[in-house]
Amino acid sequence: MAGLGIARRWDRVVDRYNAQPKIFRILFVTLLLVFAYALPLLRPPILTTNSIDFGGVMFRVIAFALVALGLNIVIGYAGLLDLGYVGFYCVGAYTTAVLTVYHFSWPFFLALPVAIGVTMLTGVLLGAPTLRVRGDYLAIVTLGFGEIIRITVTNVEWVGAAAGIKDIPHPNNLGPEPTPPFDPGGWFAIPRVQWDGFVPSLDRVHETHVLVFGALDAVPYYWLVLTVLILVFIADKLMLSSRVGRAWEATREDEEAAELMGVPTFRYKLLAFAMGAAIGGLSGSFYASSQSGYINPQSFPLLLSMLFVAAVIVGGAGNRWGAILGGAIVAYLPERFRDFADYRLLFFGLALMLLAIWRPQGLLPPRRTRRALAAQEKIEELEGEPVDVL
């Protein structure tokens, strides 16, 4: 199929990488990581959005990638269409807000695991009755769930109702505490790069202090979420290559066959739902404690769920690199189009449509999907007529 060029090229990159000696691979990964961490400070031209706050944009991008990684478990691995993922995101954010400021005053890193736990529990509570429902119906039930959560937090005074919750504390600082107005705190400061055309120079006015989570600089939040993303990525990789991952894929491909082979499909679907929910809650928690420290029910519209799903599918459901890429694209495009102000959502809609038509399998579909497609192509070639393999 014509639409698989990018994916093949990607395969070749991966193969070449795997063929290198270990020392080069370690070096390569290190370089990649350093580049990823330094990106918001490097502010490369072309890529950089026109707004001053490129760090903030990068934070949104990386946070979206994290959410997409979580939703990829539900949609990509287990094959369950969840249109209400924003519900989990919302539960995570509100749990954090309630625990850190609204009713208690826990530190952020204590509230975080509790938020994850609560969201996971919500996932199980939602999944247990609804996962028995057939695939397409699940979509509308989850959609309803997302809406129920949003309306509930709008109406319940205990979580701040329509006004939301403000002054949510930031994650704890590392290094010396800042003492306003003169000492910005932190161990040391890193200047950022500014570009005059393609000529770089150091911008000593805007410095990032390591590691102070304040209201002014988004870069430390970016580093924090990037670190979490890497951890989740590794956990995801381990999970998929274990018994659990195989059970998910078997369930997705053919539920009845999997059940006959002794896979307790319902339990594994529930597990996928809970894992996805947990990562959604994790991201929500970071969202709540990010720069502005303010959440309200309007921060969690149903449309956000659609964007999450779009991120996973556009990237290529079932491939974690694809999910990250999709999340980055869906978060980045509207920011890039910000110059067009009013037109950006229009362009975004058209871009989604064109992407779908141009690459029906997503930008980076998993290898297995591509192998199946290649096999299908071969059969078509031999038999001279289309047959369904997938």
Binding site: L81, G349, P360
Partner: protein, 338 residues
Amino acid sequence: MDLGALFGSFDSFLSFTIGGLVFGAIYALIALGYTMVYGVLQLINFAHSEVFMYGTFAVAWVFVFLHGTGSATWDLKQAAPTLLVALVAAMAMSAAIALLLERVAYRPLIKKNAPKLIILISAIGASFALSEAMGLRDRFAGWFGVDNKLANYVTPAKARDVYTNPVTIEPHGLFDIGGYTVTDVDLTIIVAALAMMIVLDQLVRRTRFGRGIRSVAQDPESAALMGVNATRVVQITFLIGGLAAGVAATLYMMKIGATKQSAGFLLGVKAFTAAVMGGIGNLRGALLGGLTLGVMENWGAAVFGNEWRDVVSFVLLVLILLVRPSGILGESLGKARA
């Protein structure tokens, strides 16, 4: 159960029920677009809400065109001729948008035999684009230098704001049911919706192209072998959904009188809920689901307070799906017998 205690009085129980039926009828007509497309393609027609939204604008534009922008209050008899013109315009507009949607967002992907999920994404993209295009209509008019000429149609200050039909249609009481006065507007909406549903149901059950639709819904390959033009069938399905949405848009504007570029979204979600509730892919199910949803959520709003209205409808959906996993009537479009 003492209804009077729950709803204040038995009369208000009746009024909530009839109010619910009115909205239920509109949900049912929109649900038709979801259920037909699902029946034939097994796809969630996510952009159908925009098909409806464009219809509501067509209605308001007809009123502005024929009447001007000065606000007025008419009763139903006085408004009837304009309403008929508006009905035709809304049906044409919605059908045109539905066909455009099929051509641009669906057909290229169906031809490629793409996975269902990516078609959903394409539909979501189309939905965004359509809704935004309506919100930016003053800019588009500006490109052609006609924004002043068309000011009445494109600018309520900012095109994203609420666009109001200048003519308010005032309902008049017709007769009483147990202390509740049924108005002519309510009655028209319910009767029109029912009539439309019956006509479409009979079309699908009795006519030649109805048979085509059912055959494609049952087994697209065999249908193609028997000489059914699948592409044409899909087109007709979208056309019918669009026509029904146009009727729904007219009835909605009779009742509400104002619309905006994002008006379709929540109604679309509700209508889709109604379609699933009644058994997706099933025309009669869409009607039953729509009416059930309308009535139940009105009761829920009366008992728990209006802010819980949507929660009631979704909880109801989950409960129904738990008991009847494929909806109340749970029958597919293909199985409908002639």
